[in-house]
């Protein structure tokens, strides 16, 4: 049920490391001036998403889930299964319903509210004491599975008709209230998983992501198809990985107190951070961007914009970026620090 959020667990370390590196390098070489010149303001593009309305239904559901205990569900299931008309109508499903009811009637969890069972509310103290010897976390997932199976059985057209015919209205409505509340909690969790994946797709494809050039489109298409770990999956969402292979004519450096443009070719990996606080726009995006990247780069010994990196004597080095801010070091007789901002001057080209 819970999607894998790889970026969320890695992000804090990445934040500290990259932030520390960036500041150390900038201080050591006086690059802060260049950063200011390069202009790191991040464009704020909004997404035309669906207009929101407050989920009052959500609040009502949670309040109800707080008021229904596992014990309530158990007693109701037992009462329904003591009704011969219903059991007859269940036919082949009666065995499943009885097994499910047996699972639901776990005495160790009877005090738990449905909401607590989902882990969205504190567990009752008395239960905690017992559950610690009873395997609470392993059991609660299967308990919801049992509730789902029980609901599927007693809501078949035949079972519903039999129940309405043979039980009083209060019992029927109580069964509906309890089974639907438990099921809605699962639907809500499925909805939240879908929304979580959607947020990650937005992080990787949306306005705060890095634009790709044509070779990168082809490379990433190939990687997603044939390299494990790069492709999206229906239940886990997008991969945080993206290949970098770009020509960047917008690096800058200072030579003899003069700002000079540098052109480079970059090859590396980009990692999207799916944690909630990342993917910010504007100034906050400098601290909490959508991605970081690292790799190797090739630079000509001639500085200048739109210089072919393999022109003349080539130099190699390494780059690292934190969001749009990139810093690199290239070798040579005198090592050189260069900085840039992630941008695309000509869409899908560079």
């Amino acid at each position: 049920m819970t999607p894998v959020v790889t970026g969320a667990t890695r992000a804090p370390n990445a934040t500290r490391l990259t932030g520390w590196l960036t500041m150390r390098v900038a201080r050591a070489t006086g690059m802060v001036r260049i950063m200011m010149l390069a202009g790191f303001a991040v464009g704020a593009t909004s997404v035309n998403a669906q207009p929101a309305s407050l989920p009052a239904a959500h609040e009502r559901l949670l309040a109800r889930a707080d008021s229904i205990s596992v014990g309530d569900y158990c007693r109701l299931a037992q009462r329904v299964l003591s009704n011969r008309t219903v059991v007859t109508a269940l036919a082949d499903d009666s065995a499943t319903a009885k097994l499910s009811a047996a699972s639901i009637c776990d005495p160790l969890l009877s005090d738990f509210s449905l909401r607590a069972l989902r882990g969205e509310a504190p567990a009752p103290l008395a239960s905690i004491a017992r559950v610690r010897t009873g395997g609470y976390s392993a059991v609660r997932g299967t308990l919801f599975d049992a509730m789902d199976e029980f609901r599927a059985a007693v809501t078949s057209p035949e079972a519903r008709a039999a129940l309405r015919q043979s039980a009083d209205n209060a019992t029927v409505m109580e069964l509906v209230r309890v089974t639907e509340t438990a099921h809605s909690l699962l639907v809500l969790a499925a909805r939240d998983s879908a929304l979580s994946r959607l947020r990650r797709y937005e992080r990787k494809l949306g306005p705060t992501s890095a634009r790709l050039n044509a070779p990168e489109v082809v490379l990433n298409y190939a990687a997603q198809r044939w390299v494990p770990g790069f492709g999206p999956r229906p239940q886990s969402g997008p991969s945080p990985l993206e290949l970098v292979a770009s020509y960047v004519p917008t690096y800058a450096t200072i030579v003899d107190d003069r700002l000079q443009a540098v052109s480079a070719s970059e090859f590396g990996l980009r990692w999207y951070m799916f944690g909630e606080r990342f993917g910010a726009e504007g100034l906050k995006g400098l601290l909490f961007p959508s991605y970081w990247s690292a790799g190797a780069l090739v630079v000509s010994d001639r500085n200048g914009a739109l210089v072919w990196p393999w022109d003349g004597r080539t130099r190699t080095g390494a780059f690292v970026s934190w969001g749009a801010i990139k810093i690199a070091h290239v070798g040579g007789r005198q090592g050189e620090w260069i900085v840039s901002r992630q941008m695309q001057i000509i869409p899908f080209v560079f």
Binding site: R60, R64, R191, A194, L195
Partner: protein, 321 residues
């Protein structure tokens, strides 16, 4: 701004989800949905229905700026052109049809749209439960229907198959009792996509996750043991005789583009009022419609969602209310 599914209080015991497509509702704004036309078609009972709309245009925008599909779309259009005949009009038709083909080229876009639809359907399910319980009713007596148009039909078809076969979405027809009263697909390109994407299957990523390609077209259903439970008891296809996206060219049915699911209810709009009698006129009408997308009624556009809804009031009242 993250996607937030719409949550509504149900005025009565039924709800309708509108899923937009291209052409007549490609602006992505709330106003792009033909809500007024739908309410007029439904008549006095229209206000009893909770009408949801799901907008996935923002996901299309991600693809447009992040990924360049031009080359692959060109291959797909060429495939369409070969089947339509080689003239200028075929190019115009291919351009028009090409708008509904590109999502199969990106698994990320397909999965993202699917997740948006799943989230919206889950929210509708929660809203239904709350509305019914508040009135002392059984939520399973409350009905949900879908009306989709054009590319929205494809995404709906894919999403319905996904929820019918994947337990983790909690929206299966039998196991979760999540079924629809009616699913109405207007000008569905599902068969068109199946044919054209099938011809270039080698470059379609994750074919196994594309329901339209991975098995025979069929009404989405859950199989439990030997029992098959369909997602809906009324799977209705509405198309027009002049609408190439729906599988017709100047009155002739195009078998390679016409969706013909076993068990579907078919309604064919003769579209004589459009006064289109030649390929050139059709090409002109489609070119004009393609460049003037919006909610207004475009009488010359054989693919107009507004026109489909306006012309089928009786069908909609019977199927949705």
């Amino acid at each position: 701004m993250p996607f937030i599914p719409q949550s509504l209080n149900w005025p009565s015991d039924h709800a309708i989800l509108l899923v937009h497509g291209i052409g007549n509702a490609s602006l992505g704004a709330q106003g792009a949905f033909p809500l007024d036309t739908l309410r007029n078609s439904l008549g006095s009972q229209s206000h009893d229905a909770a009408i949801y709309t799901v907008n996935y245009d923002f996901i299309n925008d991600w693809a447009a700026t992040k990924i360049d599909f031009a080359a692959a779309i060109g291959v797909m259009k060429k495939t369409v052109c070969e089947r339509l005949g080689s003239d200028d009009v075929a190019d115009a038709l291919a351009d028009y049809i090409g708008d509904v083909l590109w999502p199969v080229l990106s698994a990320s876009i397909r999965f993202a749209v699917r997740d948006a639809l799943v989230a919206q359907l889950a929210q509708i399910g929660v809203d239904r439960t709350e509305a019914a319980l508040a009135r002392g009713h059984d939520p399973l007596d409350y009905k949900i229907s879908i009306v989709a148009h054009s590319l929205g039909c494809y995404h709906t078809y894919e999403a319905l198959w996904a929820i019918a076969t994947e337990p983790r979405y909690q929206l299966m027809p039998r196991s979760d009792r999540f079924t629809f009263k009616s699913v109405i697909l207007m000008a569905s390109p599902v068969q068109l996509i199946r044919t054209v994407a099938g011809a270039i299957k080698a470059i379609v990523p994750d074919v196994a996750t594309v329901a339209a390609l991975s098995h025979e077209l069929a009404i989405p259903a859950e199989t439990h043991g030997s029992k098959v439970t369909p997602s809906t008891s009324h799977f209705i296809s509405v198309c027009g005789t002049k609408d190439p996206v729906g599988g017709h060219l100047l009155g002739d049915r195009l078998p390679w583009a016409f969706m013909d699911l076993p068990g579907q209810e078919l309604v064919v709009d003769t579209q004589q009022i459009l006064n289109i009698s030649s390929r050139a006129e059709l090409g002109t009408a489609l070119r004009a419609a393609r460049t003037s997308a919006g909610p207004g009624v475009q009488v010359s556009d054989p693919h107009s969602w507004t026109s489909y809804i306006a012309h089928h009031g009786d069908l909609l009242r019977g199927a949705l209310l």
